[in-house]
Symmetry: C2
Subunit: 513 residues, 2 copies
């Protein structure tokens, strides 16, 4: 790929000035169009050191309205970032609808620089290609436009520029050791970069290679390709919306015509054949008060010590609670967290997303809460809402919740690969127990706030939720992050089970270090 | 995932008999519907030895019309298959439109059995997951329905069944050593299988895990899930076709309304900014007759020896020729092949696909021609037609040719990973040279058959082809299979260049062994 590139391309100043005026106008138009249509845009700049990234990015953003874009310069990870899974700092920076995020260096550092330096190789490198493709695919499918530019100069040109910068006191500070190393190891870097581009050049998020030896040419080609990419991307969004609108028009037309009789005739239903995980749960498991108090005290004591050890060993922990309304999640979480140092954990309660959150990818707000090394994040409900409440209540489309299983598994695998202990608890009660608890709550003036019309409505949809729970437990019980079902008709039993299991898993992780 | 499965599920005989009648009728209906709609279907059966695959497959196919399905039992590779890249035997068996292919074991053997046995691991295993996902995605995007079943029994049940089969002389021969090993290493196999399922469970081609300890339950669940999968898949195809039809209806409606003025107003064009690889080719390169004859004789002699060495070293070679009409591909191929043993190579001329080929995925006919170890396949035109003639003449949709770059790169990478030497030549002439040759052909009664109206039409579209050629050379010049541009205004120069380059690359591959 690289050897096919003609680096001698130039543009004359007169032509440049003429065309730049039109380009600037068009850039502004396109930004407004994306804003009006609520389309989020990600622009990635990768390329050789001294290829002129800063200058080109500047030419791109100058004509834009600064309220609707952000530029992120992703140099080496800072301390805070190193303590999070690799994709964390990128996920948290994904723009909201209508906004643009420009990345000066990006997630490609890992499969370019780190691969060239041999820091990432073999199986880990293959995994990284997959993680990056998955990251971009997930955003694309949510309606993002992703444009990627690689700024290319030759080894000789790079050397010349670095020397020139080194001689000038105003710019000398900008050359770092790593930049000089890149020039020395130009061939190895080129191999790694080319491989990275091959593995990630998709029709969803294609690469543009920009010849940058002539700076005018580099600017014009970048901006023109940006314009083309935005036009293509916006046309795709238009087309998708048109499809939905067309279907509505046709439906309206049809509804005025006489009805056809249904021709399908399939009356076969899969009831009872489906795999039900929760049908078989033994809810009679229980524990008397005396035993409970003895055991819970011991376990909490142990948990406190483990919390400290986790901190020293720099292991992050994610604990997810999902379960039926009134299953006892809150009380269970309290018993788990009771003995922990409050500086070492966070309980993250999840309710319906607010406006800002709705304007992002649905995973965005969860990525933000992922714990750093040594910390524990306890999620009271979670991203699994996508395949539970959002599925059942129709808050997202069928295509969206169906692809969410894979999206969630990919996210969890990435976090587990970072070294995180990942625990997921399904707090389970049966329908009768729920009714009993609802009635108790309704009767107790101190608890009546805990029960809402929504709870009753969810209860009414029990069977739909049950299907969703079963499919979730099945499709997202992975080797790296399996679900644990917690029998919770007896709350005491449930609390002890969660604490015991959590302690076991943390001890295993500590032993592995 | 596996530990969540309840293997005790049963179905009573009476219920079974009742429901099977409806199921059989529905299976026949769905096969006819797929046939009528021209939808190809792939059904994969994986699972434990002795889980009852044979019986279940039988129940699936008995109600079907045998003209439109094939069952492939994919046990260990035979000698012929071992000499081809791994996916070859599966690609060549992909069904044509409206047909069904049932696989008793499949491409999953590699990431299940071979992974459990440690034959495939680490980087190679990660690569295999990617290759399999790519294979299924490519078919899905072409409109295939892919349904995958994993038949599950416990270790104890497997052992019981194997012992029972061993005692019965009628079935004892069916138990192989590898089957007994599977029972001994049940845990390792389960790990590998679960991992394989996690990595390949997508909304495009999802897995169904079937509890098979009760054979009636196993059959009913498989067939019901098959029915559900077919209904979902056919509905998807209907929806996609409806989208196209709706767009047409709406277009027709709009065309009767007064025209709106175009609101976009973008007049910026990328001409001259695009990366052109071929613009810079030095077509003045030439060679006089005397030098040519001296060198070609030497090179051909060397090529003959290398052909034999390739055969002994069991290295397969793929050579692709693409180029302008009248660029001299035919003559060039002749000089390359002249000295080779005809048992060791095939020239594969590619013209427009016939009806059978059109009914398959476009890559199918090329997979069939991939050489076995020690053999050379020379393609006179190739799969690159997808991004050249099919793109320019509108024989495929924009979405189709855009995703073809990735599909082609994935295919070539898979073949190269197998150890194949992969050479691609773009035989290049300029427009003036082509005109000269066209006129010569038209004037020479012995050559006039070589020139058609189509050639003149293609020539007329030179600029569109040039864009397509440039993008092809750029997007498919990979580290593992780069293009070589052959300056061919002087045919002698071109022939020597191809022979020299081919010899160099083969020698490199031989040295690496």
């Amino acid at each position: 790929m690289f050897e096919k590139i003609d680096l001698s391309k130039q543009i004359e100043k007169k032509e440049y000035n003429k065309i730049m005026k039109d380009i600037e106008i068009r850039l502004g138009q396109l930004q407004r169009e994306a804003k009006d249509k609520g389309v989020p845009v990600i622009v990635v700049f990768e390329g050789w050191d001294a290829s002129g990234k800063g200058r080109i990015i500047n030419e791109l953003i100058l004509p834009l309205n600064p309220r609707y874009f952000s530029v992120f310069t992703m140099h080496e990870e800072n301390e805070e970032e190193m303590r999070r899974p690799f994709l964390w700092r990128f996920w948290t920076k994904t723009p909201e609808k209508g906004d643009m995020a420009v990345f000066d260096r990006s997630w490609y550092r890992r499969i370019m620089d780190d691969a060239a330096e041999g820091i990432v190789k073999g199986e880990a490198l293959e995994t990284s290609y997959g993680e990056i493709n998955s990251f971009e695919r997930v955003l694309y499918e949510d309606g993002f436009i992703i444009l990627k530019f690689f700024l290319h100069i030759s080894r000789e040109e790079q050397k010349k520029r670095q020397e020139r910068m080194g001689k000038n006191p105003a710019t000398a500070w900008r050359i770092r050791e790593s930049d000089k190393r890149q020039n020395k190891k130009y061939e190895a870097y080129m191999q790694a970069m080319q491989r990275a581009i091959e593995e990630t050049d998709t029709e969803r998020s294609p690469w543009t290679i920009v010849e940058c030896e002539d700076y005018r040419f580099g600017i014009i080609k970048t901006l023109m390709s940006f314009i083309e990419g935005m036009e293509t991307g916006l046309a795709r969004i238009d087309r998708q919306r048109e499809i939905v609108a067309n279907a509505q028009i046709i439906r309206n037309m049809r509804s005025q015509e006489p009805h056809e009789t249904a021709g399908n005739g399939s009356s076969l239903k899969l009831n009872g054949i489906k795999s039900s995980v929760i049908d078989k749960v033994d809810l009679s498991l229980s524990m008397d008060k005396q035993e409970y108090e003895k055991r819970i005290a011991k376990l909490q004591c142990k948990m406190r010590l483990l919390g400290n050890e986790l901190y020293r060993a720099k292991i992050p922990v994610v604990i997810v609670y999902e379960g039926w309304d009134a299953a006892g999640k809150g009380g269970n979480i309290k018993r788990l967290a009771a003995s922990l140092d409050p500086r070492g954990y966070d309980v993250v309660p999840i309710s319906s997303p607010n406006d800002t959150e709705k304007n992002h990818h649905y995973l965005w707000r969860f990525w933000k809460e992922m714990p750093k090394t040594g910390h524990i994040a306890i999620f009271d409900r979670s991203w699994y809402g996508r395949v539970l409440v959002e599925r059942v209540e129709g808050y997202c489309s069928e295509a969206e919740w169906k692809r969410a299983y894979r999206e969630i598994n990919d996210m969890e695998e990435h976090i587990v690969n970072f070294g995180t202990v990942f625990l997921k608890y399904w707090i389970h009660i049966d329908r009768e127990e729920q009714l009993k608890r609802f009635n108790q709550r309704a009767a107790d003036p101190n608890k009546t706030w805990k029960i809402s019309d929504e709870d009753w409505r969810n209860r009414y949809n029990w069977d739909s939720y049950k299907d969703a729970v079963d499919e979730m437990l099945f499709r997202t019980s992975t080797t790296f992050a399996p679900w644990t079902i917690v029998e919770s008709n007896c709350k005491r039993y449930a609390r002890v089970k969660v604490l015991e299991h959590t302690i076991d898993e943390i001890e295993k992780a500590l032993q592995k270090r």
